[in-house]
Amino acid sequence: MTEYNSQNYPEGEALRAQIGRRHRAGLAGRLLFQFATIVGILTLLALLYNILNQTFGYAAVENEVDPAYLVREYEKGQMLAAAALSSEDDARLAAAVADDPSGVALFSYSAYLPRSGALRPLAMDGVQPGEAGYPINRPLFLYSAVQVAQEKPQVAAFVHYYLAHAEEAGAEVGVFPADPEAVEATRASWLGALGLSELPAVNPADYGGVIRIVGSSSLLPLTRRIAEMFVADGFTGAIRLESSGSNAGFEQLCVRQSADINQASRPMTRPEAEICRENRRQPLVVRVANDALSVVVNAENEFAREISREGLQRLFTTAENWADVEGSWPAAPVNRYIPGRASGTLDSFADAVLEETLAELPQEALTNILRAHISRGLGRRLEREQRFDERVLVFDSVESYRAACAGEAAPEGCTAPPRSQNNVYNLVLDWVVRPNVVQTWSLVDSLFNRREVAAEIAERFPEAQMEFRTWLTADFVTSPQAAEPEIAGVRTALLGSLWTIAITILFSFPIGVGAAIYLEEYARESAVNRVIQTNINNLAGVPSIIYGMLGLAIFVRLLVTITSGAAFGAVEEGTTANGRTILSAGLTLGLLILPIIIINAQEAIRAVPNSLRMASYGLGATKWQTVWSHVLPNALPGILTGTILAMSRAIGETAPLVVIGASTFITADPQGPFSKFTTLPIQIYQWTSRPQAEFRNIAGAAIIVLLALLLSLNATAVVLRNRFSRNLT
């Protein structure tokens, strides 16, 4: 025995060395598998990185029309329609309200001061005009240019004098000091541009020449007062003061160069600054004061002393009498005296108090916006797709609409219910606002190079806003497909995918499991059955596009009367999708995954222990009872695992659906199995092949939706499976 051992087996050191070699061989194998696993994980991470990088990130968005402008115009229209008098002249408004005990007016605080005996301004949420926290202030600026300040020292001296005396003079004329921080910021940049470190003391007597001042009337009282002081302090030159409005003032300063200072009641816009620079005028600005917009009532009005923001909204829009604003106030009618449409005052008020967004506007207002901005022809087309109003035609004439509806192919709008508010809102976005993403940045750039992105936008797209875009939003999931990537969504595709997969599963699960039961439990061992089995195994490996051609030939062409729904009278002849329906898609995908389901179900059935069948037969069960009560329940978890795999495959398939003719652009939800369709993978495929970068962003978002759909369907199946397996133990 010992001799045998020593001859044929290693011992001692040799044995240890031999064992070591076996361990090392195992280690090599393990490292290889580890490496493979890591490569797999890295691939997955790279995939996720790519998708996320596309789906989130900064975008430069340019609107053709600013939605805030549309809202403001609507709000102004609403206010003007409710006004008893509107005038650009604050003095006229003040006079009107001074004569009307139940009137209310809106104008600058500086216009109130001269009539303070007959009028009373309302406190807003407890804050008096001019006090800190008063919500409707307008910033007032002085604009000049570096070149002007250098050529004409009297202009710079005047501005410095202005800054030093603004507070003192403002108190006299009813203009309030601006927020000190804002003043300090503009003052620092002004001084910096002129190479000064602090505000120099100015002696007006040292200066002469002409100072030409233009611009907004809001600042006129203050400027006039300071100019008087400047002259009184010994200025030897002349000051020409003109009220031309802020807009004209910028043009005079930069383009015509007929002014040295523009007193503006709004900041310079980016294009205006651009124009200035082109004309060799580097703009300079200081914030000098605040204009408090005052809501003023007659002094005889005893009840109104304070008002809330909501009350203010009602007061200037819908309220018919004072009781509508505050329940405790009398039911006297409200007479409103407000500035005219051209006035910046009304704009400021609308922006500060009426806080509606475009999406919240009533449908009628949105329809009016559409009517004001789109052509009549386009409007007619939209109206024939779906009406805007049940009773009234907005764009079309009655005759032509009746003619269109009486025709053979009556447009859908003749019968469909009218558009919803949300629908019209989307049309406004689509045709009026036209948000246009001019460029997008990846998530990585957005996170780590934020400053560069901001600089690039400022430089290349001065009109655009920088937005952090999450392309995957609730709207994206619930909106239908659209031509513009900003408003396009995946609802159509998502519903298409759900319908298709439902039909696929309904078709292939029962047939697949049935076939597996037949093959495993009933079919005898014969040549024919072996051929069938081999065929099924091979079919599982056939490229999916072949199934697409099969589906095209059989379901789309041959069985067109069934798959189009014509055989069931579901669709009228002539308006069908001609067999390119959800039903065809579902059946084609069903054929595609049938072999996978059969093979997996066979495996699962084969794995059911034979002893269970014996036990069942031993109790006098028939074959069917045995299969139904024992084989199938025990095989079900395995069958469901196979079905999950098959379903995952079907939901991601693109090629066969392209072949059988999925719609490339469809905005209508699928209504049933006989509808035209598109699915998520098809949508993704189409978006990725578009040239615009934004389509790749939404393709990324759609991929996430597809993954989420896949995971949730799989999770459902896994939960089902676990429930079945739990019942079996």
Binding site: R524, E525, P609, S611, L612, R613, M614, A615, S616, Y617, G618, L619, G620, A621, T622, Q625, S629, H630, P633, N634, N727, L728, T729
Partner: protein, 271 residues
Amino acid sequence: MIHIRDQERVSSVTAAGQAIALEAQNLQIFYGPFQAVKNVNLAFQRNRITALIGPSGCGKSTVLRCFNRMNDLIPTARVEGAVLYRGKNIYDEDVDPVEVRRQIGMVFQKPNPFPKSIYENVAWGARINGYKGNMDELVESSLRQAALWGEVKDKLDQSGLSLSGGQQQRLCIARTIAIRPEIILMDEPASALDPIATLRIEELIQTLKADYTIVIVTHNMQQAARASDFTAFFSVDENRTGYLVEYGPTRNLFTNPENELTEQYITGRFG
């Protein structure tokens, strides 16, 4: 309690007046071209326990499975000869194997309860066979008969698989007697169990004898000697075909075997 059927159903009666429950006449069993068993002639007496013993591969299990046509489930199996039950050959064309199995139940070597609740394990067979009485009572009486009631009465809704091996086997017996067969075939019912569980099964078989005719295949000669009334000894010939060597009352066969092979086997000299 359902008692055994009356005399007129009895297929045949021996000269001694003993009722015969089941009789194999010239039984031959083939698997494809291979003959597994040849020329078996056996008659099982009612309310008696008959043990089938023999060395491995002698076909005793095959013979047992012939008695309720379980061999039908093996595609290549073929049976010649006759198995008479109530005077009719169960292999006749017009006999439905489902009906045969309804009357001749089977307990398998390895406990194979359904992966269902204990209650459902017992009730399922009764339900599919159209039992119309009170199911709760049937489940209880069957479990009592199988000496399992006391151990499971508080957990009838638990899975049958949660029981121990011996309990599972008794559950399988309860399941079988729930459909009230006339004959119970047992294929080495205790071979997968420990000695204590084995003993309990043997005791159970003894009590069941009052109501059922039992045919039991066993490898364990002590078990055959202890538990059976009659013993049939099988052996294999040079072609590996099994055949019946000797059949008689257990006491005679073990104390005074007629055949030399039997004596060698029971004294442990081969097998």
